[in-house]
Amino acid sequence: MRRRELAGAAPAGPSAKGYPEKLSSRALLWLMLAFAILVTPQWDRLPWWLLALCIVLASWRWLAQLGRVRLPGRLIRLAIMAAAIAVYVATVKGRFSVDTASSFFVLAVGLKWLETRTARDFYVLFFILVYLATVNFLFQQDIGWALLNLTGVTFLFIGLQVLNAPRLKGATWASWRRLGVMLLKTLPIVVLLFVFFPRMPPLWSVPLVSNQARTGISDTMTPGSISDLAQSSERAFRVTFGGKIPSHRDRYWRGLVLDQLEGETWVQGLRQPFERAGMVNIDGGIGALEDDEYDVLLEATNQRWAFALDGSMAVSGNLVSMDGDLFRLRRPADTAVRYRLAFEDSPEGVASVQPVLSPSEHRQYLQLPIKGNPRTRALARQWASEMDKPLELANRFLQRLKTDAYFYTLRPPTMPEDGIDALLFDVRRGFCAHYAGAMTFFLRAAGIPARVVVGYQGGSTGAGDEYLIVRQYDAHAWVEVWLSGSGWVRVDPTAAISPERIESGLRDAVAEEGSFLEDDWASPQRYGDIELIQWASLRLDMLNYQWTRWVVGYQGQSQMNLMSRLPGNLTLRELGYVTAGLIATALLVAAQVTAARQHRGRPSDPVRRSVDRWQRLLRRHGVKPVTGETPEQLARRASGQYPQARKLLHAFAALVNKHYYGAGDMTPADRRALKQLIPATRHAIKSRPGGSR
């Protein structure tokens, strides 16, 4: 046995708060690791200087822990803090979104490193980092990121265990095991809570997660803009069809209409009416898909536009129909959004309403810059005088693209002045944006209303051909031309030049050129011809898609949908009761388990337990049992103090004697009596006040 001689008043011991004063290096290391992990999901949105600052300050703190350097004094700390916050404010420029808030959390953690001296500081960092993990879920919901995030939180809890038992040797493995057991034990209740906790509508409107531009199509189009996008294999959206997946050439996902040419840039001329951002894009449609319905899971774009096939109508409540057969989300897609559309029943029925263009619209769709591209204008005027049917003119233009040597390329030369002239008459090499712009220009110059539509075209099927994945390189631009009598009709100049692009996608269209994803080394799509990579990447996408649809997307309506299938048809309020019941049950079970553990430590002999209780009772009332005393003696002494309980006390002692020293004639009734004597004795003792000490 060791003996420890310790000065009780030694100031070096734990502080008055009960926390150890100096942080243990291991605890600090876990905290830093957790920070590194939890910052990772933010890396692409954080300013580089902030990441650098965090690394420098954390290293400083670590070196100080090792005793290599000293932590800075108050003045230097204040200076660093002021400088960092000034730079931060300058970067944010007053925009407020979760994005800027989360970078502020990161900044706060970074600055806090220099002040992390006590356990209290450790807890401050712990809380900020837990919330950072929460915020991370707003940005990234993929299964991989979710696991990474949870790992970071796990590290925090390991760090807490190390912090609270710094002197324990080899505690890390035990900490993992302890946490693992805790998580396993509570897993059922977590799952039940997840399913049954009522998904209330938002309590109040919250700021957008982010309002920074992301990779994706934008609301302007210059000749080169879409070929930039073609270098990215990021996912744009995924679609599940209730019926058959339409063929590749019919998959024109309309996003935006650009109807005004300013210099070289196509923009939205007809201003969209301003609409306040809604609370969230919930209500993405529930239940099994009908044959004519399809379900789009859009990745975050931070924009409002929703992509839809020709002739669709909105089914889910988070969509609004706009002019130009477009759809808009009620709130910018700051996180992944699911929405549902359906094909319109009968195209004939729609056509029966004679479409008309108002004079102002007519003017808008003929708008051109005052000058520029004279050769194109001249040719357009010439053709317009030769034929009067707009459709024929358009077809003749397409024919020219098809038969003359025009090329579809991701590497078009730059055409600085009169770009459309250069494209059509000299260079003859361009990407979809070039041709769509040029054709619209040409048609307008010929007096035919036309507009550019941007969106995506095609998409590849995911694992098992169950759904469609549309990626950024599927971005496309095409033309719609106004034909009086039939309305807007799609014409795609790219299809005339490179049918492969429309029939099977960009990869095949630029196969000869070898320019497909040439800058994106890490993308699995780049290696689409290697079967294993393709298979693995599709499996992973499938997993993520299911995860996003069923776990991430388990929200208000999907919960109600699930509940309506369960017996009992639970409403939100009843779900609240179920949740409360679940929590109560869990606590009760936990208490029972604790009690059961306690029980194991108690004497198994019920008489022994009764004697213990009896002695406790007497002790509480000032009669201390003495070691070696028989129950009789104790009863006698107690009777001296509480004569009114004399009979009961002696009866108890007699029964105890009978049990231990009797002839084995203790009956169950005796045992019951033994038990019942205790409350009776307590009552008797208390019946006359003054006896208690």
């Binding site: 995030n149 996180t335 430590g601």
Partner: protein, 341 residues
């Protein structure tokens, strides 16, 4: 109002946790509440839930439920960490008034790990709260812990309450209980060397002063320390060397064999006891035979360890009501003997 509540609470706790030299912690005597960090953590959980609701983010719901479940599981863990832990008073301390007297306690955890158990003495009657130590008892471990208890007055000194607390594993909850040991330590009066019977501190030389004091030349001298009578300082020597020294008192007062309570006319009773204590100690060190006369109590002249203890004990408990039968077991020697069995 609050002090009234506090008193009630203390009474309730005292009733809940009876005085005992051996305490096993279990469901009935363990208290558990969220710590400060735990309160902040629950607030954070609420904020997380609101974030999840407002952004309709399922994964945030999931994280919130997960952390909430961990919090509840931590409640169980923290409680379990303390439950089953046993604490026994092995040896109540002894010492002189004004010192801190050591109590030795033995902790053991027969069935479970008891990790990072913090021991503190709560603040009581003018004595500030003090932290003793934080110890870990792995399953089956036994370890001793020395608690230094300030003993301001002579007599019996117990530990009113020893707080036993743990926040392990996460520090988000604290489970605590108290040990209220029955055994009390003995506090002897603070030894104060009695002053000279100041008759003639003449203007003579130092040896004359010493002779006057002790009747011989062989007085030992020792440095002055707090509590010594200022008259006994050898001022001549101080003037010469700057050292404050006093003659070590070896003379007799009254009978050579008897130390008598009544030998210090004019002094207060407590002071007399302090004088007597100093005398007892000095006699014992010198190996002399002496007896002790206290009002109502006479200890016949003797010498040796046992005699010393009897005398010191008589001085410590002089005029103090002793609880009836139990006191014999409070003799430190008896206690150690019992513990050693």
């Amino acid at each position: 109002m609050t002090s009234g509540l506090k008193a009630r609470w203390n009474r309730w706790v005292s009733q809940r946790i009876p005085r005992s030299d051996s305490q096993r912690f279990h469901q009935r005597n363990i208290f558990i509440l969220p710590s400060g960090a735990g309160v902040v953590f629950t607030v954070l959980l609420v904020i997380m839930l609101i974030t999840g609701i407002n952004y309709q983010n399922s994964l945030i719901y999931l994280l919130t439920f997960l952390l909430g479940a961990v919090f509840v599981a931590a409640m169980h863990q923290t409680h379990r960490n303390l439950a089953g832990f046993e604490l026994t008073l092995v040896q109540p301390g002894e010492g002189f008034a004004g010192d801190e007297i050591p109590f030795v306690l033995r902790g053991s955890s027969p069935r479970d790990d008891a990790i990072a158990i913090a021991f503190t003495l709560p603040a009581s009657s003018g004595v500030a709260r003090r932290t003793i130590d934080t110890l870990t008892f792995m399953e089956g471990d036994t370890d001793d812990l020395t608690v230094l208890v300030p003993a301001p007055r002579r007599g019996l000194q117990g530990i009113d309450r020893l707080r036993v607390e743990t926040g392990f594993p996460f520090g988000l909850l604290k489970a605590w209980s108290w040990m209220r040991p029955e055994g009390q330590g003995l506090v002897y009066p603070r030894p104060i060397t009695p002053p000279l019977t100041m008759t003639d501190i003449g203007e003579g030389d130092e040896s004359a002063q010493l002779r006057a004091a002790f009747g011989h030349d062989h007085a030992e001298i020792r440095p002055w320390r707090a509590g010594d009578m200022i008259q006994r300082v050898l001022w001549k020597r101080y003037a010469r060397t700057g050292e404050m020294v006093i003659a070590k008192w070896e003379g007799d007062q009254g009978s050579p064999h008897w130390l008598d309570f009544s030998a210090f006319p004019g002094a207060e009773a407590e002071l007399r006891l302090s004088y007597l204590t100093a005398q007892v100690l000095e006699r014992d060190t010198a190996g002399q035979v002496f007896g002790l006369r206290l009002p109502g109590q006479v200890i016949e002249p003797d010498s040796g360890e046992l005699h010393l203890r009897r005398c010191l004990r008589a001085l410590a408990l002089f005029g103090i009501h002793q609880p009836g039968t139990a006191d014999a077991s409070h003799l430190p020697s008896a206690q150690s003997a019992r513990a050693a069995v």
